[in-house]
Amino acid sequence: MTTIDEPIETPDVETTDLTIERVEKPEFDLSPQEKRFVGWHITVAITALMIGSMMGPIQSFQFSGLDLYPYLEPVIKSYYQGLTLHGVLNALVYTTFFIVGFANLTTMKGLGRSLSHPVINKVGFWTMLTGLIMTGIPILTNSATVLYTFYPPLKASWAFYLGLTLVVVGSWIEGLGFYLTLAAWRKDHRGVRSPFIALGGIINMAMWQIATLGIAVEILTMLLPWSLGLIDNTDPELARTYFWFTGHPLVYFWLLPAYVSWYGMLPKQVGGKLFSDSLARLAFWLFLIVSVPVGFHHQFTDPGVPQTWKFIHAALTYSVFFPSMITLFTVVASLEFAARRQGGKGLVGWIRTLPWGDPSVAAQLLAGILFMFGGIGGLTNASYSLNLVIHNTAWVPGHFHLTVATAATLSFMGISYWMVPYLAGKQLWSPKMALVQVWTWFVGMIIFSNAMHVLGLLGAPRRTPLGSAPYVPEEWNGHLLRVSIGGGILLISVLIYGWVMLRTALGPKVEAHLVPTVPIAESIRHPQLTPVWLDRFKPWLIAAGLLLVVAYGPQFIDQIFNMNLNAPGTDFVPWPS
């Protein structure tokens, strides 16, 4: 028997006494090869983020009339080509590679074992990378300036669609590797609750696999044959419905890994424990079932989708509020528990006791704070008729730079502050600079995002170089300037981040005890006391399937059976060359 097969220690009354540490098991650690494998994901991710993020500030400068595009001319021909690069590299490539890499780590570390079929995950990774290159080339050569939503009948090069498909399929293959590993672990550990960080990451992959069926079908049955010239026309409304089947759960795919860290790692980093193992699991299962059947809330203003379905999805979207509020409570309670244990006092005064000097902790705490505002804005977006005020205005990018670009991205940056040193066997280069990075992101984002929200309320459209739009009234100018200022601060933050990562990765190897370890939080209550139904995939997958059929089935059937392939688009390339 190997050490990992040992039965877990018996929970007893003492273990719930919060002051007593449990006996540490001899720990499984990733082999150098495994670390390198995870490291490749993270390297691709951060590279994509660095390139993609460069475009963001440049866009924001355009808003107040500082037009840098002439200097980018050799590669980037227009605001829109840059925006395509920004959306695809940040929102699709950076996130997917980081999330899958992180899921490799949490699966292995959580379960305390290697992948059962590492070759599957290798195939998955190389498929993703091939896809990335195939997608990148047409974007950089300006033959896919269709933004990251690629709404037909804007027609990109076939390589763009095929590349995206490969990225998605690659992530499915890696997901399969995780399921098989979990199954293998369970075989050896009958009756034992799956460790939370592993389960959380794998639930996220399962949700992603269900969700991405939408764009898979969209691309394979419509866009790819169309871009190859096999069919002449598209059905743009059906394409939108397919896209948003994937598009909304995409946002939970970005967030749940941050939640894995907030629930399952951050408490350890701040010297505490997870407040409630049961509710952490419940939240993840609820996200699995309610993330997908809500996509029509992105189509509130679409012609071609009846109001009834939009309203049903509005109601279902509200249900996502429930696991989000559980998360808020549980995470804050875990933090408070840790702070009070270390002498924190007062109703909110305990917050100061948290280890704010640790950049990884500070990043995640600040990400969480901004996410609360993102959540409130999200409720507005989801509120059916209220959506009319802000749909497709600058409010929307204002909103999701708090969610994906902060709650997820800033948390991932925080994670990378221990993970990259851990994977590379190094020490973090200059935790001080890392702290500066974290705070500049926070401040820059508050300015940027607030200005974007206000512009949206005033009626400024999104996806628009507002610095050169003819209809911009005087009144917007101050806010446009604030967008640029926020963008400038964010630019500094991104550059520091890239520098810290580079110096860390290239830094000298240090002795093992100086290298950070993977923080894994225990829960206050022993996980073995969590009911079994919170550890089973089957009931939740069935529930997810049923809800999908009810919430999406009728409208999908209607749109597919009445499909009108009649939109050819333009007979010229519609974007600037």
Partner: protein
């Protein structure tokens, strides 16, 4: 925050060790239980508010109205001659074509207090249609007609802006609803139509 509840079950061992698997509870902290109740209450409140706004107060979003063939839609009426049509006292229909990269008509003039049913479609790419400072906001999708109704109660210029990326000229694609004081509009005409098709609209004028 107490975890008193847990202590009752905490004495049991893991599976196969005398633990009654069926008797496990989630061990929810009483504060958190109340928090969850509050969440549900909030949700019910949000939902009710939105239902009232949408269905009792009639602040409605676009629905499925009509499908057209984007390849031929501009060849036949009413889309062959987009513009404003007077259909009653202070009631209008505005047929608006959103195309790369302009709106036709690009100006709609109406007396204050008018109710306008706006119908928009696109023969080429997806576009957006949002009238600043109003609740009029819809996607324009080739193959579909978007229909929205709005009553303009204040005098002023209300730009309508394309808010979906549609290529090169996207940032310059807009038009204006001019809401003018009663009596200042040439009431004989009533129709303002588009830049290009005032003749077409004059047919309509005759019928008034």
């Amino acid at each position: 925050m107490s975890n008193g509840e847990d202590l009752n079950v905490a004495g049991a061992g893991p599976a196969g060790d005398g633990l009654d698997e069926t008797a496990l509870t989630m061990g929810i902290d009483p504060y958190e239980r109340n928090w969850m109740r509050l969440t549900v209450a909030l949700l019910v409140m949000f939902f009710t508010t939105v239902a009232i706004a949408g269905f009792a107060m009639g602040i409605q979003v676009t629905g499925a109205y009509q499908e057209v063939d984007p390849r031929t839609v501009l060849d036949t009426e009413p889309w062959a001659t987009p513009g404003l049509r007077k259909i009653g006292d202070k009631e209008y229909e505005a047929y608006v074509v959103a195309q790369t990269w302009s709106f036709n008509p690009s100006e709609i003039e109406i007396p204050v207090g008018s109710t306008v049913t706006i119908l928009v479609t696109s023969p080429d790419l997806q576009h957006g249609f949002k009238i600043t400072d109003t609740n009029v906001n819809t996607m324009v999708v080739p193959g579909q007609v978007s229909k929205v109704t709005y009553t303009f109660d204040t005098v002023g210029d209300f730009p309508y802006i394309c808010h979906e990326y549609c290529g090169t000229g996207h940032a310059t694609m807009f038009g204006v609803v001019k809401v003018v004081p009663e009596g200042t509009l040439d009431e004989v005409s009533g129709d303002t139509g588009g830049d290009t098709d005032n003749e077409a609209n004059s047919d309509e004028d005759d019928s008034q």
